[in-house]
């Protein structure tokens, strides 16, 4: 009886830890996407109002979350393209969108740049909305997972 109880507690803790880490990963992806959305909004405003170069924008804007992965340091030292390539935790589709932006950014005149920036920002917003919905669904599942696991084992064993 005691062994079974210890086993159930261990399973519960493992499932809890597993769920928690997945929740954190989902939160991180949402956080990164939110920061990227803010960054693109900032880029857009700075190009529109002050016609600042991408390098200048990169030097001015910082986000602690993105900087944890060295995003701005790499941007300053190399390029935006390198910074995006070096970022982990970005969904594939988002990465592709950002790489597409980084490859074309700075090659056109203001209207083209603003158009490109708006396009990327809008898509990032859509991705963020989807990611948030997905996170809510997944988080519900992750929250109930340890309890359901314990319940099913209890039902099986007793």
């Amino acid at each position: 009886m005691a062994v079974k109880t210890i086993g159930i507690v261990m399973l519960f803790l493992t499932a809890f830890h597993y769920s928690r880490s997945h929740q954190k990963a989902e939160d991180l992806q949402c956080g990164i996407l939110t920061e990227l959305c803010s960054l693109f909004s900032y880029i857009q405003k700075n190009i529109d109002c002050f016609t600042k170069s991408l390098g200048e924008i990169g030097r001015e804007y910082t986000s602690p979350l993105l900087e944890e992965y060295g995003f701005y340091t790499i941007w300053k030292q190399h390029s935006l393209l390198h910074a995006i390539e070096s970022m982990p935790c970005i969904p594939l589709q988002t990465r592709e969108l950002l790489l597409q932006y980084a490859r074309s950014a700075g090659q056109g005149y203001k209207e083209e740049e603003l158009h490109l920036c708006r396009y990327t920002h809008e898509h990032l917003q859509e991705m963020l909305t989807m990611q948030k919905e997905e996170r809510n669904t997944k988080n519900r599942m992750y929250r109930t997972l340890p309890y359901l696991l314990v319940l099913s084992i209890v039902l099986l064993l007793y």
Binding site: G55, E56, S79
Partner: protein, 288 residues
């Protein structure tokens, strides 16, 4: 040839193959690197102390585009205004003249596309360049104006730059406002004691603003050429502010026929002509 930090910095703004080719060729020449000329399907040309040296590398369209991107810090849009005027000026003071195919609307240039020629001019400090003018102005208690003239590329900007430094720095500093329309004239003068640099201002507006707001003894600007510039010069007459400026003209007689200078009464007391060998001669503007 001596290689300084600014020239090294310039190379980082070029396509890597062009930069590598220049690096290899530099030890072969004696003198000061004045210009780098890059054209599609033509060799890179270095102007070292006035002599043109074609290198073995033929430039491709891609090399030019990469260079343009690097000169613009990968932000072409941020240089749209100056591109329309035919040049790119980098954050670190490098100035490149460019030409390509323009898109014009109602006779006005809106965009420059397909850049196929780049001319990078490397500004240099030559401390003695404005010495003769400075001494004459000093003997006249800084109450006279001077107009520097020569054909393009003979060193007018260098003379004005050195004169600005000499006038605004000890031992006898006077208040100088420098109207640097193309971010070229003020290069290297950031630490001059009494110098205010109006960077990027249209020349006529810069002169007007300097006159109204900075209370200068001297206004220095480069290459007066348009009717607007002429209007700005007229404003200086009777204001007590002296001018040092430059104009394109080959000889003194060409200068005297220049449309910008027609009907301007006694604004300049001295003309300073620079010849092919970069040697300057000072002429009194009005015979006494």
């Amino acid at each position: 040839m001596q290689w300084n930090a600014q020239e090294e910095n310039t190379l980082t703004r070029l396509d890597t193959s062009i930069a590598a080719c220049i690096r290899r060729s530099i030890p072969l020449y004696q003198g000061i690197l004045e210009e780098i000329r890059i054209r599609v399907n033509r060799p890179v040309i270095l102007n070292v102390s006035g002599i043109h040296h074609p290198l073995e590398l033929l430039c491709s369209h891609d090399m030019i585009q990469t260079t343009v991107q690097k000169l613009c810090s990968h932000s072409l849009y941020a240089h749209a205004e100056t591109l329309r005027d035919g040049f790119i000026c980098t954050e670190d003071g490098i100035r490149a003249g460019v030409c390509g195919r323009v898109v014009a609307e109602k006779g006005k240039i809106t965009f420059l596309r397909d850049i196929h020629s780049i001319c990078i001019r490397l500004p240099h400090r030559i401390p003695d360049a404005g010495k003769e003018i400075y001494h004459v102005l000093m003997h006249r208690q800084f109450t006279e104006s001077v107009l520097v003239f020569s054909p393009p590329g003979y060193g007018k900007t260098t003379v004005l730059r050195e004169l600005a430094a000499a006038l605004s720095d000890p031992p006898m500093p006077v208040r100088v406002a420098l109207v640097d329309t193309r971010y070229e004239l003020g290069t290297g003068l950031e630490n001059c004691l009494m110098l205010d640099i109006l960077s990027g201002y249209p020349r006529n507006q810069g002169i007007e603003i300097a006159l109204r707001t900075m209370s200068p003894d001297y206004i220095i600007c480069d290459e007066i050429s348009s009717p607007d510039d002429r209007q700005a010069l007229l404003q200086c007459i009777g204001s007590g502010v002296r001018l040092c400026t430059s104009i394109h003209a080959g000889t003194l007689s060409e200068l005297q026929c220049h449309p910008v200078l027609q009907d301007i009464p006694n604004i300049f007391q001295w003309y300073y002509g620079i010849d092919r060998n970069h040697t300057g001669t000072l002429f009194p503007a009005h015979k006494e």
